[in-house]
């Protein structure tokens, strides 16, 4: 190595060393300050609090939870609630987005105008404002607990929608699992069989009809297992029992779905436009109807283009679900970053946990979409 090159590289190394030292010094002095502040304020450190009793009730939990449960349970409940709203909003926004994407490309002027108006209006109003609007409007419109609307066993009021909760005993649970396994197995077999045989003769139609009927009957058999049903009831100013669908969940799902559907609609539209016109024309020539051509020919090809940007949009949606904190839906941000933080006062540990949970959700979405993407690309060969 010549001397000149060595001298040039020397500067590079020196610069990088200085930069690294600066960053490390910043981190180190921040940590020292933090530890000093923690000592002065007399706060605890570490994740020991996760085993402690939480001591508060949560309005909505997908697993059994009581004030006696630990903080770890709080974290699990919060993560499940976040995932629930993310999944609901992703599915709903995808459906609305697809409808709006096809709507914006329709030949019908009025449909095109309606879809374009929808997209332009809802993508340009801040998400937080939309969520607050749906939340306060819903609460204003719905009746109080005393005047709850009753549908069968369900109750609807401004505290939310209260559904009967199915209580499963041990014996009922095992029947349920066995039934589900049978259902999945049958479904898989039927699908496999339909894939390997010709689909367009009467025999296969009749047989697939029979299989689908069987699939529908299977869950009915489960009803014989002993289930308890816990009906919600008005108790003073509150509702006891049942499973609560909070107005917060409804408002958050609606806001997230509508806002993100506008961005997804634009992504899907770009994907649809990327499919050559000849594909749709050829589909029409071989006699497919407009809807079947769109679903069977155009959409699968459009998805290859649309999936990577759509993945980014699903990640944005997952991150935006943190806005739950603004209306008090018990998700990661509200429960862990809010309640747990204020009760334990361990800001560093709790916020690190929040950051990790969101990063994990983001990573999971990226992985799932990558897998799907690989499948789509595989079929291309």
């Amino acid at each position: 190595m010549s001397r000149a090159v060595l001298v040039e590289r020397l500067w590079d190394y020196a610069g990088q060393a200085v930069l690294l030292a600066l960053v490390l010094w910043l981190a180190w002095s921040g940590l020292v300050n933090f530890l000093g502040n923690v000592r002065v304020l007399g706060l605890a450190a570490g994740y020991g609090f996760l085993d402690a009793e939480a001591g508060f009730q949560i309005a909505q939990s997908l697993i059994a939870f009581s004030p006696r449960s630990s903080y770890l349970d709080v974290v699990i409940v919060a993560a499940l609630n976040s995932l629930l709203v993310i999944v609901l909003a992703s599915v709903l926004s995808t459906l609305i987005g697809l409808v709006m994407a096809f709507g914006r490309l329709a030949s019908h002027g009025l449909i095109r105008g309606a879809a374009a108006t929808y997209v332009e209006v809802f993508r340009n109003i801040p998400l937080l404002l939309q969520i607050l609007f749906w939340y306060f409007s819903a609460i204003a419109v719905l009746p109080g607990v005393g005047d709850s609307l009753a549908f069968g066993g369900a109750l609807l009021n401004n505290r939310g929608l209260f559904l009967p909760r199915v209580q499963v005993t041990m014996a009922g649970g095992s029947t349920l699992v066995a039934g589900l396994a049978a259902f999945v197995g049958l479904f898989w077999l039927a699908r496999r069989w339909l894939k390997t045989t010709a689909r367009d003769n009467g025999w296969s139609l009749a047989l697939s009809g029979a299989i689908i009927a069987l699939l529908c009957l299977a869950p009915l058999a489960l009803m014989r297992a002993d289930f308890g049903i816990d009906n919600p009831q008005v108790e003073g100013f509150n509702v006891g029992g049942g499973f609560a669908v909070l107005p917060e969940l409804a408002a958050l799902t609606l806001g997230l779905s509508i806002y993100n559907s506008t961005f997804l609609a634009e992504i899907f539209r770009a994907g649809i436009l990327s499919v050559p016109r000849g594909q749709a024309e050829a589909a029409a020539t071989v006699g497919l109807s407009g809807v079947r051509a769109a679903l069977l020919i155009t959409l699968p090809q459009a998805m290859r283009v649309a999936l990577p940007p759509a993945a980014g949009q699903y990640q944005t949606l997952a991150k935006a679900s943190a806005l739950a904190a603004a209306i008090g839906y018990p998700d990661i941000m509200q429960l862990v970053g809010g309640t747990v933080l204020s009760q334990t006062n361990q800001a560093l540990e709790v916020m690190a946990l929040v950051v990790l949970l969101y990063a994990a959700i983001n990573l999971a979405i990226a992985l799932a979409v990558n897998l799907l993407n690989r499948r789509l690309l595989w079929q291309q060969r």
Binding site: L19, N33, S107, H108, N124, I125, A140, M333, Y358, N362
Partner: protein, 366 residues
């Protein structure tokens, strides 16, 4: 064999008459292609009319315009614009001192003039001066609004409403753009330490919600400072906004830098430009021009994100209206808050839609 040769010039004929189809038939061809479409048309049209009529009734016909408390807006048949009119100061400038208000008006006017200049100039022209303006203007506005020296000092805690939203959006944009450009260049650096640090920062920021970053800035950041140091909440929120959006801008700039072929850089160094000059004179102008529409989209996102300030207790436009509906004079009627929300929606919609049109025009002007 007889032949016919025309001896005279005939009159020019009209073009084949597409317009001879009557307007009715044209309309039918477009809208009523099938019975299904006819029904769809009718349903959509009816929905538009009913919704538009009811909104008009609510927003204009039955609306209440004057009054100083919730008694001015009985019932919920009409919008409560009295709430918006009576509380103009909180949502426009917040708690800015009355005798210093001219500074706030001057800031609005300066921004208005600047924006008018930006919009009327030719879109094909270079964007350097516009970008420079976007970086200098917030600095000037901050100086005017904070004061000091001959001007009385006004702490940012007394700012609020649209003024605060405007300043946060402009200051975020001005600081996030240069920082984002540096991060994007750093991610492409041949020095591994620089590359790793920039990549880690950008990817870390992108995997966390903005609200979490704001919460960390609001609750956790003071713990990392030496005792006695105190950065006020407004500044901390501004830092969080800048860092988060720097990561977003970095991804945009990275796309622009990738769009410039490597040959450009090689050619520039071949003719004798230094590494830095090649970057400054050849690569960056092309990269930045390519991403200007995407930068406008970042600006739209920043404007919408400023609403998150209300969650951590900074009095932005949304926070001012929310707080107004909780004030003793106006509390109680949900219709008042809904009117406030609709008013805000119209403001944000107008600003963001206008910006998105501008972004699209820039895209087609290239």
């Amino acid at each position: 064999m007889t032949r016919f040769v025309r001896q005279t010039v005939i009159d020019a004929r009209d073009a084949p008459a597409t317009s001879s189809l009557s307007a009715l038939i044209q309309w039918r061809r477009a809208w009523v292609t099938s019975p299904m479409m006819a029904v769809t048309s009718l349903v959509l049209l009816a929905a538009f009319c009913v919704f538009g009529w009811r909104f008009l009734q609510w927003a204009v016909v039955h609306a209440h315009w004057r009054g100083s408390d919730s008694a001015a807006c009985p019932g919920d048949s009409g919008a409560c614009w009295a709430f918006v009119v009576a509380r103009w100061k909180p949502w426009l400038v917040g708690d800015y001192p009355l005798d210093q208000l001219w500074r706030a008006w001057a800031s609005f006017a300066a921004f208005g003039l600047f924006w008018a200049w930006v919009v009327q100039r030719s879109h094909a022209a270079g964007m350097n001066r516009v970008l420079l303006g976007f970086i200098l203007l917030p600095a000037v506005l901050l100086l005017v609004l904070i004061g000091g020296g001959p001007l009385a000092a006004v702490a940012p805690t007394r700012w609020g409403g649209l003024l605060l939203t405007l300043i946060v959006a402009l200051a975020t944009f001005a600081s996030a753009l240069p920082a984002g450009l540096c991060l994007a260049l750093g991610r492409r650096s041949r020095l591994p330490v620089v590359r790793w640090l920039c990549t880690a920062f950008v990817e870390g920021m992108r995997s966390v919600p903005l609200l979490v970053v704001l919460f960390i800035a609001a609750t956790l950041l003071p713990m990392f400072l030496p005792r006695g140091w105190n950065i006020d909440l407004f500044t901390r929120a501004l830092i969080a906004f800048s860092l988060f959006n720097a990561a977003m801008a970095a991804e945009v700039f990275r796309g622009g830098l990738q769009a410039v072929g490597h040959g450009q850089f090689e050619a520039a160094t071949t003719v004798g430009l230094s590494h830095f000059s090649a970057l400054r004179l050849i690569v960056l102008p092309q990269a930045v021009t390519a991403v200007v529409p995407a930068l406008v989209n970042i600006m739209i996102a920043v404007i919408k994100e400023t609403t998150l300030l209300s969650i951590i207790g900074v009095n932005d436009l949304l926070g001012a209206v929310e707080n107004g509906a909780k004030s003793p004079d106006w509390i109680g009627e949900p219709n008042i808050l809904i009117s406030g929300h609709v008013f805000l929606a119209v403001i944000y919609l107008a600003v963001c839609y206008g910006l998105s049109r501008y972004s699209r025009r820039l895209e087609t002007a290239r």
